[in-house]
């Protein structure tokens, strides 16, 4: 049973899109189980994802919302959805990422048939999560998403490491879900047992402060875990690299965003903002996640692990935006809050685009060489130029370079921070916090540039560092097309930053239940503090065209008739070897030294000499950084808990007399209690 509130133009199509998307995903899953036609599955899920994309864009353009509900179990609706603007934004992001990911494996054979079937269902579960508007259907979709993604990570024939990665992932997300469940139950309890979000929003103002804070803490912990923000990130860099690349693309591009979506949905939409402290808290979490995420990413030389840590970084940037929004919303600066919230959404969409692109690129490289380790790659640009081009676009976008989309959203985030730091509504300490976050964000973007110069350069430029890299070949046409699509999206979203941002601003305002814009809070033309000074603006399209023009002019001018003379690379006069090049590890070395206090590197050099001489026959160098949280906190805590469990097991000591004593004592205690 489906209804759309007002039949705006084209809105009548939207239900069809929704049904089609889900149906196609289910069909794709079914098809994947049938040996003869299983090759059709990726095509079908691509179609489904495109439907989801269309649905998201349609909802955004028409401004209507889509409601639907499905079968019941124990009187609880398994499907009860309402797609509003917020859902639409994330749905569109999902559509981009999922379509490309599904397309990239057209013609590939999945690791196993169950996994081939699980992928479309995983996509369907995300669609349902993004729309659910009642506690049960949300958690049902949420947990299905968790389980399916965990299965996709682990697969049918995992190695021991992958199994443990899957366990860590499942454990953390499941406990996090328990927190969310309790928070939802509290909301239900304080709204007379109602389980739907609308009733909760209605009851939210009446919440006792303590209850509200408990709820906020629980949902924050729960959703931040799914989002992979520090210090809840431990599962992420283990799980994402283990999955096949197209799965990692969706997990990293969209699934962790459902955590962000949940935060916005519950805190901003349902609860109408948190207490004064919450914004700063989220802001701090975001800043830490951003800086530490990119630092750890720089230290990785496994391509997919590097990208996984970058997901933590980008979640951090999104959280900086969200934190700013909450900070300002709690202090009544609605216009700026909406701006910051729009920034967070914008970066979520952008990250979905370029992170999926990069993961698909990494997948193409792994597919071509079978290598994960950057230190064995190199010179792939000559073998796979298309991949290099799109990967470069993705790298530039994620590094936040104008005029691409990453820069646009980071620009908005910066504006939000400037606004918060300058706003009179905010007390000085919080303003200083925002100002400090500006520094953190700047550091993050600069480190991201370093990291992606390293990733791109070491992989695609220079000489191949291994035979496998030398023998690489370009990836399949569908994969190339998928990556090209995402690269185009990165460019378009960057150049169309203005309209996109203003659309998101509308969504943000409606999500915050704020009226129409009062000040000139439209983009491009954002006043950091309305009234004073001149609008700080970023005219993406014109700047982009200007840059392009300048580049074109210079390039044309400096082009010569005569072709260049080819010579060997200068290596002080001896024949160049691949071993002369900087590796990924050595490239990141200066930064490792600069930040050695935080990264705590351990180096180990092992030299073997030619017998009898002082001439080294082989030198092996290994450098590992210490993940402080894991090493110094979590591992000891784990050990302690196991010891505690062992101690508790002494209760069951085996002597029947002891057991009788338990019973007697319990009875006596009961009798005393009942007196």
């Amino acid at each position: 049973m489906i209804v759309t509130p007002d039949g705006a133009l084209g809105a009548s199509l939207l239900p069809a899109f929704w049904v089609a998307a889900l149906a196609l995903f289910v069909l794709a899953a079914a098809v994947a189980c049938v040996p003869r036609v299983s090759a059709l599955s990726p095509t079908l899920s691509t179609a489904g994802s495109v439907c989801a994309l269309a649905l998201g864009c349609g909802l955004l353009l028409s401004g209507v919302s889509l409601t639907a509900s499905g079968s019941h179990v124990l009187g609880l609706a398994t499907i009860s959805v309402r797609y509003d603007g917020l859902s639409a934004v994330f749905l569109a992001a999902f559509g981009l990422s999922a379509a490309a990911a599904s397309l990239s494996v057209v013609g590939e054979r999945p690791r196993s048939r169950p996994e081939g079937a699980a992928f479309p269902l995983f996509l369907a579960s995300i669609v349902l999560v993004l729309g659910a508007n009642a506690a049960f259907s949300f958690l049902l979709a949420w947990e299905s998403m968790t389980l399916l993604s965990a299965f996709l990570v682990v697969g049918l024939r995992p190695t021991r490491a992958v199994v443990s990665a899957g366990n860590v992932y499942l454990a953390m997300t499941h406990v996090a879900t328990a927190a969310i469940l309790v928070a939802f139950a509290l909301l239900a309890a304080s709204s007379g047992g109602a389980l739907d979000f609308v009733a909760w929003h209605a009851a939210a103002p009446g919440l006792a402060p303590v209850t509200r804070d408990v709820i906020l803490v629980l949902v924050s912990a729960g959703f931040l875990t799914k989002a992979g923000a520090m210090p809840f990130h431990v599962w992420l860099p283990r799980a994402h690299p283990a999955a096949p690349s197209h799965v990692s693309a969706v997990m990293s591009g969209v699934m962790i965003k459902t955590g962000i979506y949940g935060l916005i949905r519950v805190i901003v939409d349902i609860m109408g903002g948190g207490p004064d402290g919450l914004g700063l808290l989220i802001l701090g979490v975001g800043a830490v996640s951003a800086v530490m995420g990119v630092l750890y990413a720089l230290m990785q030389h496994d391509m997919k692990r590097l990208l996984a840590f970058h997901s933590i970084e980008n979640i951090g940037i999104i959280l900086i935006g969200l934190g700013t929004a909450l900070l300002l919303q709690a202090r009544g600066a609605t216009d700026l809050a909406a701006l910051a919230l729009a920034a967070a959404m914008f970066h979520s969409v952008n990250h979905a685009a370029f992170k999926s692109l990069l993961f698909l690129g990494a997948g193409a490289v792994v597919h071509a060489t079978g290598l994960h380790d950057l230190n064995h790659l190199g010179g792939l640009g000559r073998k796979m130029p298309a991949t290099m081009l799109v990967f470069g676009v993705g790298a530039a976008a994620i590094s936040g370079l104008p005029p691409l989309n990453g820069f646009a959203s980071e620009w908005l985030t910066f504006q939000g921070l400037f606004g918060a730091a300058g706003s009179g509504a905010v007390e000085p300490l919080a303003r200083f916090g925002a100002a400090a976050a500006v520094g953190a964000l700047a550091l993050t973007t600069a480190l991201a540039v370093a990291c992606f110069v390293k990733a791109t350069g070491v992989t695609f430029l220079g000489l191949p560092r291994s035979a496998a890299a030398a023998a690489a070949s370009e990836t399949t046409p569908p994969a190339r097309f998928a990556m090209g699509f995402l690269a185009a999206v990165c460019v378009v979203l960057g150049l169309a930053a203005g309209p996109v941002a203003s659309a998101l601003l509308t969504v943000a305002r409606s999500t915050m239940h704020a009226g129409a814009a009062t000040a000139t809070a439209t983009v491009p033309a954002v006043t950091s503090t309305p009234g004073s000074g001149q609008a700080a603006t970023y005219a993406a399209l014109t700047v982009g065209l200007l840059v392009a023009a300048a580049i074109a002019v210079v390039a044309a001018a400096s082009r010569r008739r005569t072709t260049a003379r080819r010579v060997d690379t200068w290596t002080c006069g001896i024949a160049p070897k691949p071993a002369f090049q900087y590796t990924a590890t050595s490239y990141a070395k200066p930064i490792q030294l600069f930040f050695r206090r935080i990264l705590v590197p351990e180096r180990e050099v092992h030299v073997e000499y030619v017998p009898g001489t002082r001439f080294p026959s082989s030198i092996r160098y290994r450098s590992e950084i210490t993940l402080l949280l894991e090493e110094r906190v979590l591992k000891p805590a784990h050990g302690l808990s196991l010891q505690a469990a062992d101690f508790a097991r002494k209760l069951q000591a085996g002597a029947i007399q002891l057991y009788i004593a338990y019973i007697v004592l319990a009875v006596l205690a009961l009798l005393l209690w009942a007196r």
């Binding site: 079968s71 609880l76 024939r157 309790v182 069951q652």
Partner: protein
């Protein structure tokens, strides 16, 4: 008419057992299955008659089955059917391996049938005294089953089960006496002074002191059979040492039977004392059970003990849910009872398969079932996921209902802790399960022949549990509703 059905229902297994006792080989299997089929048809007939009539009585009210009783009866029949279906394969292997002596199979099937008979009797009788007799009888018979293979461990487990069970249920007798005393004050000496229906009708007039004491002793007594901490100590021993089909019956049904008795007392106490007293106790002991079961699940070396402790955990959850009250939680409890029974039975059956194939129950030995034992291993893994309450398991729904119901009823801390403990217990199960399925297998006995019957027997129940997580069929929904009404969600 009903008298006859009930008579057949109870006598068929007893007589079948008597016939089976001296027999050997295929014949005894045939006898057992035949006798059980008769009883099962009678039992299902009765159970299905209840929803229409609301209450089926026989023997002048001596037997009186309401929706709750019918539910427990139906579950007993279903789980017993699964266990009996799995028995021949299991017992033959035991005989071949020399763990059972030739001739024991006759005793096994006889005792099995008698155990089923006692279990069936529990939900039938209306008289709390006879209810106690039936529960005690289950202890005696199942104690013989637990120790049927004469290994020292089995004897130890059976011995502890017998002694602790008798002492515990002794307290239950005490509770019954007190209830009787209180009702005799009101009714005077009459044969139906212990009938639950009568007690409920006169509950408000009962002496509150007696009632309070009575519930306390019922909690201790039937709590022992339910496996609530700290009365649970016999449970992991007995459930792990018994032959796997019997473990399935013990964990699947006999716990529920005892819980059924406890519920009866709880309802009387609620009717007489108001909800707070007994509910609080149930919540406290339920929480305690979940909390104590966790460490034993985290560090566990024995597969069947792992499952047994998970039973303790789930019984704790059910006790809590009953204590919470309220429509949502009780609906969850009603469904959870059935889902847990079916899932746990299946898990024990698959665990038995694995234990026999690997020649050990040690978790460190049972590894890499993905290759060595795809069906049983898959069933175990899937069952553990179902038990952990991940969708599409029906237990996701029930656990959601119980936790949310609890918090909406104001039991914030208890329900929140329960949610946390549930998650942690799932983590423990998942870690063990992943090692079982994918761990590095040691030297494995050549994979036993996968017979289709086994695959069906292990897969079908799990599929049912999964299906019930997505959709509740109309009749079942109606039945659950009436059970909830009985459990006292009326008017909430």
């Amino acid at each position: 008419m009903n008298d006859w059905v009930v008579g057949v229902l109870l006598l068929a297994p007893i007589i079948g057992g008597l016939i089976a006792w001296p027999l050997h080989g295929r014949l005894v299997e045939f006898v057992a299955i035949a006798a059980f089929c008769v009883a099962a048809s009678a039992g299902l007939g009765l159970a299905t008659a209840v929803p229409g009539a609301g209450r089926v009585t026989a023997f002048h009210g001596g037997v009186s089955i309401d929706a709750l009783g019918a539910y427990v009866l139906g579950l007993t029949v279903i789980v017993a059917a699964l266990a009996l279906w799995a028995s021949p394969r299991y017992i033959r292997h035991e005989l071949a391996a020399g763990d059972l002596r030739p001739g024991d199979e006759g005793h096994y099937y006889a005792l099995f049938l008698w155990f089923v008979a006692t279990l069936i009797a529990v939900p039938l009788v209306d008289n709390l005294g006879l209810l106690w007799v039936a529960i005690e009888a289950t202890t005696v018979v199942s104690a013989l089953l637990v120790g049927i293979n004469r290994s020292p461990d089995a004897i130890e487990a059976a011995w502890k089960y017998l002694i602790l069970g008798t002492i515990g249920v002794g307290f239950a007798l005490f509770a019954t006496l007190l209830a009787y005393a209180s009702s005799v004050h009101v009714l005077g000496e009459s044969s139906d002074a212990l009938n639950w229906t009568r007690l409920m009708s006169i509950a408000p007039h009962l002496n509150p002191n007696l009632l309070r004491l009575s519930f306390i002793f019922a909690l201790a007594g039937y709590g022992t059979k339910v496996g609530l901490v700290p009365f649970h100590t016999w449970l992991p021993d007995a459930h792990s040492q018994a032959p796997s089909p019997v473990s399935a019956l013990l964990s699947g049904v006999s716990l529920i039977a005892a819980l059924y008795a406890l519920i009866r007392f709880h309802l009387v106490a609620m009717a007489g004392l108001g909800s707070s007293f007994s509910s609080t106790l149930l919540v406290v002991f339920g929480l305690l059970s979940m909390a104590v079961a966790l460490p034993f699940m985290i560090r566990q070396e024995d597969l069947k003990r792992l499952l047994a402790y998970s039973s303790v955990e789930h019984m704790g959850l059910l006790a809590m849910g009953i204590g919470f009250g309220g429509p949502l939680a009780l609906l969850g409890v009603a469904l959870h009872i059935g889902l847990h029974a079916i899932t746990k039975a299946t898990l024990f059956l698959s665990a038995g398969e694995l234990a026999q194939q690997y020649g050990s129950r040690r978790l460190s030995a049972i590894r890499g079932t993905f290759r060595a034992a795809p069906v049983a291993g898959g069933a175990l893994g899937g069952g553990l996921l179902m038990l952990g309450g991940l969708p599409p398991s029906g237990m996701f729904v029930t656990e959601f209902a119980i936790v949310v119901g609890g918090i909406t009823r104001g039991y914030w801390w208890a329900a929140a802790l329960a949610a946390l403990l549930l998650a942690c217990c799932f983590v423990a199960l998942a870690v063990h399960g992943s090692r079982i399925v994918w761990g590095h297998a040691g030297p494995v006995e050549a994979a036993r022949g996968i017979d289709g019957a086994m695959a069906l027997r292990l897969a079908a129940p799990l599929l049912v549990v999964a299906a019930l997580g997505l959709w509740t069929p109309g009749p079942l929904a109606a039945a659950l509703d009436s059970i909830r009404a009985i459990l006292g969600a009326t008017g909430v």
